[in-house]
């Protein structure tokens, strides 16, 4: 028995909701900052659907303000988004049987926030076939929120006061999703190593710290798993 597609889709949307509380102000601030840095409104909005990756869009606004050359902008976006390589590898086994069109669409929607709830859903021990609809639901919910919040930031400025710590809801949701997955010594070691390394490597350029720290955590997890 498979849950119907629409049930999976809406479950994905619902799972994404807590993360949207943190994403919305983030998008507004991006829209407002991009205008301030001199990027035209149309380009600001287009970047939210063409690049569709928050932290790299923020850094782009800073680079534009500094009049950085286009090649530097491209290089920075590419490096900041390297961690999506890990997400892609992580969801790939679950998408293997889908058509190229589905793969192409879901790859576009593969953001931090959609990945976080989707991989948790895939990790549940049932072998049901409609989970890509869950992915689609969470991905589209995030996409729509990102577009609307960008537009609100462009039109209204960041009307949510920046001192409201709504961004913390994003961190808290990641905590709520990750902590239950730490079930053994190897995953605990992977979490601690990646977290500590990310703190130490935070000043690396282009946010390379997250990617490097994650690789280190994965490696340590693998090593410890071999020798129980």
């Amino acid at each position: 028995m498979q849950p119907p597609r629409s049930q999976e889709f809406w479950a994905g949307v619902r799972a994404e909701l807590p993360l949207l509380i943190g994403v919305f102000p983030f998008g507004m601030i991006y829209g407002a900052l991009a205008l301030e840095s001199g990027i035209p409104p149309g380009t600001t909005q287009a970047m939210s659907s063409i690049v569709f990756a928050g932290s790299s869009q923020f850094i782009t606004t800073q680079l534009v303000e500094l009049s950085a050359p286009g090649l530097v902008i491209i290089f920075t976006i590419a490096i900041v988004n390297l961690r999506h390589l890990l997400y892609s590898a992580s969801v790939a086994p679950h998408l293997q049987r889908l058509s190229p069109a589905w793969k192409g669409l879901l790859a576009y929607l593969l953001t931090d926030e959609a990945y976080a709830v989707t991989i948790t859903h895939y990790a549940q021990d049932d072998n049901l076939g409609n989970k890509h609809w869950f992915f689609l639901g969470s991905g589209l919910a995030l996409w729509l929120t990102w577009q609307i919040s960008t537009a609100s930031g462009i039109l209204l400025g960041a009307i949510i006061p920046p001192e409201w710590p709504l961004d913390f809801t994003l961190t808290l949701t990641f905590i709520a999703l990750v902590v239950p997955q730490i079930k053994d010594r190897a995953s605990l070691a992977a979490a601690l190593a990646a977290g500590i390394a990310a703190v130490l490597a935070f000043s690396l350029p282009f946010k390379l710290g997250i990617f490097t720290a994650a690789l280190l955590g994965i490696l340590l997890g693998l090593l410890l798993e071999r020798k129980p």
Binding site: I50, S88, A89, L110, T171, A176, Q181, A190, L222
Partner: protein
């Protein structure tokens, strides 16, 4: 180079990064060691995102700051561990942060 071109190419590279393994995995068998490694991806990446958010202030370890986020985060980790509930983790974590910020 125009900003438009930079955004288009940056977006294309981002898309190809996201598509990479999804497109390639259908073509050949996934090696066993890689499958084992992938189990650690969510834990490792999100820990690498979370911990700097709790510990760093403007990208620096600053021991003079108040530790509202760190304390609220540790409390949230405890709640997530005991209850496995996203909603409870959110509520307790946000309440703790707002309370601590009001106190200090």
């Amino acid at each position: 180079m125009s900003l438009w071109l930079a955004i288009l190419l940056g977006g294309l590279i981002t898309y190809l990064t996201r598509l990479s393994f999804i497109a390639l995995f259908g073509l050949r068998q996934i090696p066993a060691w890689l499958q084992r490694a992938l189990r650690f991806v969510p834990t490792a990446v999100f820990s690498a995102i979370i911990l700097p958010e709790l510990l760093l202030q403007d990208g620096k370890l600053d021991f003079s700051q108040n530790y509202a986020r760190l304390i609220a985060g540790l409390l949230a980790i405890l709640v997530a561990w005991r209850t496995r509930s996203i909603l409870l983790t959110l509520l307790v974590g946000m309440a703790a942060l707002l309370l601590l910020q009001a106190l200090f």
